[in-house]
Subunit: 421 residues, 2 copies
């Protein structure tokens, strides 16, 4: 039943019925949180064995260093080796950091602001801009806004961002970069096609200090048996001599513990050198006990993949719950569309145009907290007010099912209200 | 026997004898490292029990938060409480960070550069300066130099820096702050007198965006039974309404594990607010598993003090070894003076004027690595070329005794060479 084909009378009648249902939910006084991509309690239990001190042996890293003491700026060798396998990047092009890739990205852009990326400091160049594939990750946009970098929306489809538009815009010297999640993208869950990656690698920006923040947060975060594959950006870049344009990051936040994982940066020789020269001033080294703990627990790429399958089992049941509810409640009504990702942490839901804010507000009133409408766009401004990021991971499956029922109801209420005007 | 009273002939004869001894040391091919304030292997063993996962219980912080997950920007409540006891600062004026107070200081100054400290960003004000009590900590100076902040030497005595000079210099609006270690100072081991602290608190700088980086790294790091006491800078500042001028930091790097401790910042309400607003962009939160591990192991201030006594026992034997050797080998020769600290990690050795570089080079050649001569001054330039930072903690006691023998020998050789001209 496509809502748009109903008469005014039928819509009014249907709205009355839906509002009755909505009010009965409201009366329950629920408190359900689907706002952030936080792993659920069941996922937190999966890695507890990593805290066994026996894994730390005699505290010696493979280079003989005592991991309890100061030193080793860029990470213990076995930890770099593990990430080298995961990202398919040489160990010498990796640096292991603290518990958050967000901090790596913030610090990298702060460094570009103050010291530049091989040219004048960004803070001294007025009117600089970044290209932001949308819908995207609100914390990325927050960093750019914080530093006063103007953001330009780049629409995306199932292959990634509109590369024609990016190729055109980078001819402007003021455009200093792109920030994106190329695999199981936040929030759409799509993975950039090989052609998209190749076109990124072949970009010819006017700015000599151009940088793409390639946030590969979900590189091993498959949910379905069908895995997406992302072309290695550095392999593609090498063919074009553009390695310096790319700063790749990832972390174990959604592999081991969100609050106590380790993060890593991959970059060209030139960029690694510049970053290390800043790091020697900023730190003596990151937590190497945690690095050794991670390596001795996860062992190698195969070990990581086996561990990720445990997460996938939990996540698949939650993603299916959301997708099944969308399919059975919203499909065919002409008021919503959504992505069906093979991995990552989110589903991107497009509601009836102009209805995202109202839908989120209705949910909130009924005790279901969603990511704020607009959050998936720079400055929190969704030009069509239709995108909502769905984060199914944190609630229990039962809570999630309840929350999605309410969400579907609110999507329809908001759409009918809009059509009725 | 004061060397300066010897005749040229006597000096030449003595030099020949000392060089013979020196060459026999050189022939041993030793490799001894006294360059950094790194805890020794014996100290690293003291905290291993903190890694027992039983200490983490059900992973819940006192506010009910699961420490394994994302969240809690400023530290779990019990961790703030512990540091509140240690620093005698209200928990709401504290933020718990990652494993390095060096990073807190770097990030704070980076923030002042890009966003200012309540006024124009420092990066936009040309010719800004910091006052640096000397001798001081090389990593402090490295941060300031990295950001292009001009450094001005402030001589110190047993009460702290020359406050008259500081009071005069802060009348220059370009002077934006001071960076110092007020307790068991690096490298002199002295603690600022109550009067010094009160004069800091009463400073009337021309710059409205004036900041003192109060690096209280050694606040609980006593070695002797006689403990120094440092006046609480925030208590003194409150009387003058100058709380916003002070940023205090400390860490557990030399309490638990140097590479895997936790660090903390104490500041006024205004500064905490400004720092948190930056942090919400930079991170979702620091490693809370490590925070809980620390609190449940150390328990409270008394627990920390008991733990520090174990470190003190190890350190006292090493400090005594150095001081005894200095006393028996160098005293009365008129070529060296040194501090006798009650705590901290260093002894400050002043050799014969113009001889620090030569002394360090002689040591190096004989296999003893010291902190570079000049390192205790901004830009690595000791105007009198006489200060050497002695770091007795890292070598074993046997290695240390050997290293100090060689050091004393080199001090005398360099002095005699200098006098002979």
């Amino acid at each position: 039943m496509n809502i748009q084909n109903l008469s005014r009378e039928q819509l009014q009648e249907r709205l009355g019925m839906l509002m009755q249902e909505y009010n009965s939910y409201k009366a329950l006084g629920l408190k359900l949180d689907m706002s952030r991509g936080k792993p659920g309690a069941d996922q937190l239990e999966l890695t507890n064995d990593m805290l066994d001190p026996a894994l730390l042996g005699d505290f010696k890293a493979s280079n003989g260093f005592d991991v309890r003491n100061y030193g080793v700026l860029d990470g213990i060798p076995e930890c770099k080796k593990l990430f080298s396998e995961i990202l398919d990047v040489a160990p010498e092009n990796l640096i292991v950091f603290g518990n958050a890739s967000l901090t790596i990205m913030y610090d990298y852009i702060a460094q570009c602001m103050l010291f530049g990326a091989g040219a004048e400091p960004w803070a001294k160049q007025s009117g600089i801009k970044f290209l932001c594939p949308v819908p995207g990750y609100d914390r990325h946009f927050a960093i750019l806004e914080h530093f006063g970098i103007e953001m330009i929306n780049i629409p995306s489809n199932e292959n990634g961002p509109d590369m024609g538009m990016i190729e055109e815009l980078v001819k402007d010297e003021k455009v200093k970069g792109v920030i994106c999640v190329p695999m199981y993208s936040n929030p759409s869950g799509i993975t950039y096609s090989d052609e998209t990656v190749r076109r990124f690698a072949a970009l010819k920006p006017a700015a000599k200090d151009f940088r793409v923040i390639w946030d590969n947060a979900y590189c091993i975060h498959h949910i379905n048996d069908t895995h997406d594959k992302l072309l290695n950006i550095f392999d593609a870049a090498k063919e074009n001599g553009t390695e310096d344009f790319f700063i790749e990051v990832t972390s174990t936040s959604k592999v081991t513990f969100p609050g106590a994982g380790i993060s890593v940066l991959a970059a060209s020789d030139n960029n690694i050198k510049a970053i290390k020269s800043r790091m020697t001033i900023q730190t003596i080294g990151y937590d190497k006990i945690n690095q050794l703990r991670h390596v001795n627990y996860l062992k190698d790429k195969a070990g990581v993949e086996a561990h990720m399958q445990k997460h996938a089992a939990v996540l698949k049941s939650k993603f299916d719950a959301v997708l099944d509810a969308f399919e059975s409640t919203l499909a065919g009504k002409g008021i919503a569309s959504w992505t069906v990702p093979n991995g990552g942490y989110f589903i991107s839901l497009d509601v009836y145009e102009g209805c995202a804010k109202r839908t989120v507000a209705l949910c909130k009133e009924a005790g279901v907290t969603l990511t704020g409408a607009g959050a998936t766009y720079p400055y929190g401004k969704d030009p069509e007010d239709k995108n909502i990021r769905i984060a199914p991971t944190f609630p229990s499956r039962d809570e999630l099912c309840k929350a999605v029922e309410i969400l579907c109801l609110c999507v329809e209420i908001a759409a009918i209200e809009k059509i009725l005007g």
